[in-house]
């Protein structure tokens, strides 16, 4: 991307995770810029929970997130492909059997 004369250091990018209610996981909702973690959480409250969408926020600086590479998706996930026996529906049970 092109640069310009008045360019300065941007506030770092943070990934925001919100727990919508007690008992559920935190879920990724988006990202935002903030100077530090406290500001990231405050901004996340304003940007991502204006309608009671959450009761708990995690903020993780984006540079600390490590992701799997989509180009390696094949070799990474294919081994699970032919192991249908890991699912309960793989097994035929006699009709007499209840509650299993």
């Amino acid at each position: 991307m092109s640069t310009h004369s008045n360019s300065k250091i941007e506030w770092p990018l943070w990934e925001i995770f919100v727990r919508s209610k007690q008992g559920l996981d935190h879920k990724h909702v988006g990202s935002l810029h903030a100077a530090d973690a406290a500001m990231a959480i405050e901004n996340a409250r304003d940007v991502y929970t204006r309608r009671m969408e959450g009761i708990s926020i995690w903020a993780v600086e984006s540079k600390n997130i490590h992701a799997s590479n989509p180009d390696e998706a094949g070799s990474l996930y294919d081994p699970a492909n032919d192991k249908a026996y890991r699912h309960p529906t793989f097994y035929d049970l006699p009709d007499e059997v209840k509650y299993m």
């Binding site: 310009h4 360019s7 506030w11 990202s31 500001m39 940007v47 204006r50 180009d71």
Partner: protein, 312 residues
């Protein structure tokens, strides 16, 4: 000749598999999205200005609280969209720079002035209504982060449209002066609103490729027609009229026919010659310049605190 990656990419799009940030994508797809998403974000941010004009003059505390919440939503929508654009490799500051220097555009509708309180009603009903018509199909856009941002935007946008309709409905039941004010606002905003769908299909050069890539799902003219059909009915409920003498139900087409759009005006406003282009951009640039010391101070504070924590 298309290369193999292009074919593979198009196949994914055709199968409705969403494209995610780290996936391979054609450079033109990336650039088209950056342009579209950043323009969309800029529109949300500039879009706060015409309404901000009336926050301090809202007729009641209730209306004021509602308008304030709506404008805050628009700031939020801008932020969701800027984040989505950043996943494509452009920085936030670069996008601001493009907006402030006029390289990037925003929706031309925001270059019209808000002259009366009734304009707040019309902006909600027509401008946000047109935006929703455009945006709902974008929730299924082929680019994942854009589609996800649009889901959030659309959920929130429907309150915007209803509060606008509510303002007009109330004015419609009001005094003669209030009714006149509302009709005048509808008259001024109607044509710019239907221009929001963009140029006619045969004059919209980027549309075909965007539809092939499923960034867009419906053409400009299709969406415009749908919007006109809806508004032509809703205006009756409000007890007002739309300023188009050619607006008439066409039984054969099952659509409303409508008059000729003044495209010259559309292009003039896009090129910077609308009534408020300069004012809007100046306000935005001033806000950015005035906020500089705050951004610098926060950065300095965070740097100092990090250094202190390391030392301790």
């Amino acid at each position: 000749m298309q290369n193999q990656q292009d074919v593979f990419f198009q196949d994914k799009v055709d199968k409705e598999i969403r494209i995610e940030p780290k996936d391979w994508m054609p450079e033109k797809y990336r650039q088209t999205l950056i342009r579209q998403i950043s323009q969309h974000a800029h529109s949300e941010i500039i879009g706060m200005l015409p309404e901000g004009n009336w926050i301090t003059r809202a007729p009641s505390l209730r209306r004021k609280a509602i308008l304030l919440a709506k404008v805050q939503d628009e700031a939020g929508h801008g932020l969701y969209l800027y984040s989505a654009a950043e996943t494509l490799g452009i920085s936030r500051d670069e996008m601001y720079h493009q907006l402030h220097t006029g390289k990037a555009k925003y929706s031309s509708i925001f270059n019209y002035p808000t002259l009366s309180w009734a304009d707040m009603g019309v902006i909600g009903w027509l401008v946000d209504g047109a935006a929703i018509m455009n945006q709902v199909p974008l929730c299924r856009s082929s680019y994942g982060p854009y589609a996800r941002a649009m889901v959030r935007v659309c959920k929130e946008e429907s309150f915007h449209q209803r509060q606008g309709f509510d303002i007009l409905y109330t004015l419609g039941k009001g005094s003669e002066a209030q009714r006149k004010m509302a009709q005048d606002a509808i008259n001024r905003w109607w044509w710019p609103s239907i221009m929001m769908f963009g140029p006619k299909d045969d004059e919209s050069p980027n549309s075909i490729q965007s539809m092939k890539w499923k960034i867009k799902r419906f053409s400009n003219d299709e969406l415009r027609q749908k919007f006109i059909d809806v508004c032509a009915e809703q205006v009756k409920v409000l007890g007002f009229t739309l300023p188009d003498k050619d607006l008439k139900w066409n039984e054969a087409r099952k659509h409303y026919d409508f008059g000729t759009i003044n495209w010259d005006e559309f292009w003039q406003v896009i090129q910077g010659n609308g009534p408020c282009n300069k004012e809007r951009l100046d306000a935005r640039k001033k806000a950015w310049a005035d906020g500089e010391w705050v951004r610098d101070a926060a950065t300095a504070y965070a740097t100092k605190k990090t250094a202190k924590n390391k030392a301790a």
